[in-house]
Symmetry: C4
Subunit: 205 residues, 4 copies
């Protein structure tokens, strides 16, 4: 295994997103995990079971994109690594557990996607320039074998996914972006859209 240190700037970015997400209650019970690209060959991933509101440098592990995963990383590291391997333009991947994401991922699991239509917030997603659009946030069945799950997800996602995120049924939301700033904006935008969709279903049910 490559022994790569996590650069201070990468650690600072991950600590900042951790504080943001923890303050919103999106990572209850030590759930959730975050990663950021270090360079073309490696990424930094949060360790399992850490306090997401206070991520210290020792809570991160540098993971080579080629070869075996080091010990101690989050069990969901294969889902992160698969995104970076698939797309050299991915700079950060974020995974959270929110009530809206969990509930809608189960409601729409059979359909395979949550449909979002006509929201101005669509424009929070890189490349979307108008609310006059219909977005489909994919929903994948959950699987404790995360290597197998990662392979299934990547084979289903197109090379350039129109929506920079997906749901795992009964589990939570993944979002990514070219930079941590983009990934955070996508995460916030998708979570807002899911909250709106959940409210509309309650109202019009």
């Amino acid at each position: 295994m490559l022994d790569v240190a996590v650069p201070a700037e990468v650690a600072a970015d991950l600590a900042a997103i951790g504080r943001f997400v923890a303050a919103r209650g999106w990572v209850p019970a030590t759930a959730g995990n975050f990663s950021r690209r270090i360079d073309a060959a490696s990424v930094a991933v949060t360790r399992s079971g850490i306090d997401k509101g206070n991520i210290r440098p020792q809570d991160l592990i540098a993971v080579p994109l080629a070869g075996e995963l080091p010990a101690g990383v989050s069990a969901e590291t294969p889902l992160h690594v698969a995104r970076y391997r698939r797309d050299a333009g991915v700079g950060a991947v974020l995974h959270v557990h929110t009530v809206a994401a969990t509930v809608l991922s189960r409601a729409d699991a059979a359909q395979g996607f949550v449909e979002l239509d006509g929201f101005e917030m669509h424009k929070s997603l890189s490349g979307v320039t108008t609310h006059e659009s219909t977005l489909r946030l994919p929903v994948f069945a959950n699987d404790q074998d995360t290597a197998r799950l990662a392979a299934r997800i990547e084979s289903a996602l197109p090379a350039e996914p129109p929506v920079p995120g997906y749901l795992l049924a009964g589990h939570g939301l993944y979002a990514w972006g070219a930079t941590m700033t983009d990934a955070q904006r996508h995460l916030e935008g998708l979570e807002f859209l899911l909250q709106c969709s959940l409210e509309e279903r309650r109202l019009h049910r």
Copy 2:
């Protein structure tokens, strides 16, 4: 273009409203924008994509009310500028994205307004002195051409709108006031009324 500096007092006011609104989660994913009048001829507007919880002087642009818009301002600047041009008494304009505003703006888009009836909170709006009143918060269809949208809104609004705000369908809430304090009170009052209306629809549906 006029080269107007943003006075420190104006910048402080905009930074304060940014902290307030960001803390409530009303500007997810860098959404939303704020402005304050500098003088009869110009206003300060937030730049696009900034962190609303930490608005620095360089995040603001002075915009002349006559002539072309400078580069870098929020795409929704025409909606702000139109309010100041129309009414010399408008001192601040605030735009946020909340779940209640987004959901109700879509639910009542065809009707063209959200009706609010009999709430004590009506009195948070300047000029309203009793709960024994029926308010109509206008809802306008969204449009990515914000100059065209601004013209449509201003031609629909009376010279002295009874409610100091409107909704854009699927987009969010605009509110204004003679001062930043008034605009904030109107924003909070309207958002509270929308939350109550959303709850009542759930309950009595």
Copy 3:
């Protein structure tokens, strides 16, 4: 009019409850008002329109319980004063605007009370020692003539109300207690009970 100063301890108590309540979003748009007894003859009341999260000594007015109200006090001061006049054991009165209180006060206005049955949280109210009880939180019709409203409320309330609070329809929640600590506990307990009741109505509707 008596010229009574507000003792520092009384001002500190009111500033503390203001911070608590503002942080929860229970006083949007400068709504709400608070008071605390100074002595047998006077109480301190918040001025109208102040920032409830930052109550300074100059934001308070000492109000004599006998005679005319001084200028500048909240329009709802008669409701506070009436409670202190009626019951020498009342030490603090708190009024907030929450979504649950507003919505349920309208839903149950015709019935004249919100019924609460079997909650452990009943025990947060002084004198209630078991969950095996049914509480009725009175709902009064709102009135902009607050002197007339106060007289109507006090004529309806028994000398020793079983529940230390009431709702004004479409307006909000009042709660009181022998001390500020008691009044805060009653406010929190009643608001929690209203939130539970609102959820149960949604669920079982």
Copy 4:
């Protein structure tokens, strides 16, 4: 009665969980209580009526697991003590009052449990390794005689409960763990699951 001091480390643990829980609004109106094991023979329990967001050493009482309860402890201390007596592996017990726990405990009181099925968050509970599981969170009828209630609960719980928590109907949630960290993770995980279940019932009702 044994006169045991509360070690500083135990007091620090209880102060930290108090801040966490109070910030989330899970202990309104001085409700809720927390305990941590000191050693094989004694535990530290919060006193009645204290500010849970600011637990000081003097707000704790060391309680011997054998013999009579000291004066001043929370009325629900027998429920805590019974857990420690029953299972030497229990290191901390937490009790909170949340809206979701209160509402679901009443909705499912007759059935005697809240059923949770297929959530990834199941894995926040020690010993649960997959979402492909069905959990039953027990619901017990509330009782002001907490010694009698504790006996009833312990006779119903198996020696090794599959879920480290239970609900009291109309009252709230209890959760425990081998350490304070485990107990907190169980508390957060169960509360998240209850929130998801409440949302799903609203949606699919």
